[in-house]
Symmetry: C2
Subunit: 375 residues, 2 copies
């Protein structure tokens, strides 16, 4: 790999190739070698990947900031934008799909996902798309209940589905404008997140609030607001999602609780300050918040006391070789898996497994045995 | 100051004087110089103080571990102890009182407190005590509503009161046995925390649980369990206290919220797993937890939106020169104070002030103006 050449193409803020490349991690799948950037560095997004065999650069997906109040958050953020689009933000697994010799799905961190890759090849007509647009990447969410990462039920999705929420030049990261991306996705039959509204930022605060209320009632995550050119993006989430994430985090408190709790409470409190007009509504939110923190944790403590395995339960389904590759991939990433069921259905291998939450198990056992906590 | 001599007397794990003394901070009050250790280091407790003018060492008060379950926490912690004592843990301001040329009250961090010092001289017969026991220190809690640090209402305490919960050799830190300390305090008329029970650890789990329930119902903090010799100590707190601390922390979320929330939720969850036998009781705790997190924060956001000053409100009372010294002391410690009332009552100066919560004010204003949050 000619580092100087990649360095020049990467448009990085680093001054020297060595300064940048020391952060890349090299890995291989089959006969191909990849170089992934596991964290944002020197102006490059987390998950930026170099694929020398295809002479390709695949930029990471940018981290999206969040507003805590819609008014004046929306107008302030999109100060100079005549038009913005409001789309649903989905709760799934974010991948970038690119043709780097073969079509692969990269995770946020820049790894080829052995599970999502065959899924997206089946669910999207990637062959047609990349024949026409070899230099682009599809930014997509894998959603549905059968996921090794973020399982979440969506109405009418039994196993998996893919929603394409962005199309970008893979080397520069430049997005297509929202309207163009929506038209292009339609022409290839790619499903997209729902478009709630388009218009001047100052006219959209009410519609966004309605969209958030509707999504909240349906148990969905939130919205993404995008400038027409797709360059500026900001997110806002539902009460449901805040509490849902807290409930998940506190079901495994020593893996996630500490990192999750403060930011979700902050989001919920600003939303409450803006929208909860009655004392009763505020108290209802507070009660739901308290339940989402305490009840999952108490349940986990009691499960550990009863000798059960605690962790994230997942079901995955696919060709036997793809499922095997996924399990190996997860174990390579230092996860301890406990297989609870492993069967065939219509030629697919279906595996139910637990990602064992070792910190939660060990810390909880320590305290339950009377161990002390120094603070 | 002969560092080598102090080093030898300090019984530290440090290998060289320089290794230890680089961590001490020097400060002066009137004509006296002190050297305080602001954090636990090399086997010495946080707040250990050297007073060369009195050739004195005043050891810090040890950090006390916590159990999260009473059963088997109590018997496990006091494995080899035939007898333990259960005393109330009070919610106030923890000081060590020693005669280092004059009688002063040291804060946990090792500073002479200009407010507590005259208070304890008035409220305790320190002259008589230190005439008889010059080498000892009184470990005491300043409680009551008029405190610049931890104001808390206790029945029948209008302004201040002092409870002596320990007597130690000031240089070695060795405590008096509990029974001896209680008798000695009685003989000087020093009030002490309530003694709930004494006995074999295995027989005390029920009584401790009853004490905690009684304290919880009365809105008090919790219990301290001590071995008979006073050397081993462990604490356990009430649901009231967990929620009370969260409510305070989330009234100023960007000063305290992040540090407070996880540990208090953990305490509450283990307590719930051990004691909340019905689903209804658990839900009640969850609702109260949610209210203590969300409601104070929403109130603070709305106060900031309305242009009010947010922070900790305190009332202090004392001789004018002592109150002036306190305010100077607080400002020296980089606090921004806003005086809300300043009057005389019976020769005392009474000041109501706010310790301005600048992080909470500034962060909240940023978000309310539509500012983004990167996560």
């Amino acid at each position: 790999m000619d580092r100087r050449e990649y360095f020049d193409r990467l448009d990085t803020a680093a001054e020297e190739p060595a300064e940048l490349f020391e952060h890349f991690e090299q890995y291989s799948t089959a006969d191909r070698t990849y170089h992934a950037l596991p964290d944002a560095r020197h102006g490059l997004e987390r998950g930026t990947v170099l694929v020398p065999a295809a002479d390709a650069i695949v930029r990471g997906y940018p981290s999206i900031p969040r507003i805590l109040v819609l008014d004046p958050g929306v107008t302030d953020f999109f100060d100079d934008e005549p038009t913005i689009a409001v789309e649903e933000k989905l709760n799934g697994f974010n991948v970038r799909i690119a043709d780097v010799g073969e079509v692969v799905a990269f995770t946020r961190g820049g790894y080829v996902c052995p599970y999502t890759t065959p899924r997206v090849r089946t669910l999207l007509d990637t062959e047609a798309f990349f024949a026409d647009h070899p230099e682009k990447m599809l930014c997509a969410e894998l959603i549905g209940p059968e996921s090794p990462y973020t399982p979440h039920d969506y109405d009418a999705i039994e196993s998996h589905a893919v929603r394409v929420f962005g199309i970008r030049d893979r080397e520069s990261g430049t997005p297509l404008p929202v309207a163009e991306r929506r038209a292009l996705c339609d022409s290839y039959g790619f499903d997209q997140p729902r478009l709630f509204a388009r218009g001047e930022p100052s006219e959209l605060v009410g519609p966004i609030r309605d969209a958030v209320a509707e999504l909240d009632a349906a148990g969905r995550e939130g919205v993404l607001m995008k400038s027409a050119d797709g360059e500026s993006m900001v997110k806002y989430t539902t009460e449901f999602q805040h509490h849902h994430e807290l409930a998940h985090a506190f079901s495994l408190p020593f893996e996630y609780g500490r990192d999750f709790v403060f930011s979700r409470v902050i989001r919920d409190a600003f939303q409450a300050a803006e929208f909860d007009e009655t004392d009763e509504r505020l108290r209802e939110r507070a009660h739901d918040l308290g339940e989402s923190i305490l009840l999952p944790m108490v349940e986990t403590i009691r499960e550990i006391e009863a000798g059960k395995t605690v962790g994230e339960r997942h079901t995955v389904r696919g060709a036997p070789e793809h499922v095997a590759a996924l399990l190996e991939h997860l174990r390579d990433h230092s996860l301890t898996l406990e297989i609870e069921a492993d069967r065939r259905e219509d030629g697919d291998r279906v595996v139910e497994f637990v990602k064992v939450a070792e910190s939660t198990r060990d810390r909880t056992q320590h305290y339950l045995e009377g161990g002390t906590r120094d603070e």
